[in-house]
Symmetry: C2
Subunit: 109 residues, 2 copies
């Protein structure tokens, strides 16, 4: 099974919700089940996918497992986003320039 890339993993809303929850604090599976109101096997399955993508890590504690967020892979996403940040900044600049131009023109006649 080809391990899925970060984009694919994040496409699922339940998984994003899990990550959001783990940002606050570590949680064990049963806690996630309560918070997400979804069946335990599904939570486990999503955690497995997240684990394969290195986005979470499990600390074993007897029969329980405490899951921790390991956000490093998200830096890749951040990196991908970089050039686009520039792109939308440029668009904002262009918009501003355009507005300035209109204001100038208005002042002129």
């Amino acid at each position: 099974m080809p391990t899925r890339d970060a984009f694919t993993v994040l496409a699922d809303p339940t998984r994003r919700q899990i990550l959001d929850l783990l940002r606050e604090r570590d949680l064990m599976v049963s806690e996630l089940v309560d918070l997400l109101r979804t069946a335990q096997p599904n939570v486990s399955k999503h955690l497995k996918v997240l684990g394969e993508a290195q986005l979470v890590n499990a600390r074993v504690d007897g029969p329980r497992r405490h899951y921790t967020l390991t956000p490093e892979p998200l830096r890749e996403l951040d990196k991908w986003l970089g050039p686009y940040r520039r792109a939308w900044a440029d668009r904002l600049d262009a918009l501003e320039a355009h507005l300035d131009e209109m204001t100038d023109a208005e002042g002129e006649h």
Copy 2:
């Protein structure tokens, strides 16, 4: 059909490639077909999805359409990423602190 969110739209590698290409300059469909080496109908379909997600915009020019990147929706993604940036910065800080601690301990004996 419920229009897909940014995460879902970006999960497809071909669509990301289209966005990457449009970052350089506007392109018409036939140019994208050449660059992507994929069939024209598929390109059109992906462009449609990207358009619904407001990630691209078409300028009509006779029978051609020039597609432009409109990166604004990506700001949402950037926003989602925000708290995680903090999270991984914290983790780096913790790591550094830990290394400092080890160095200190080493110096002490």
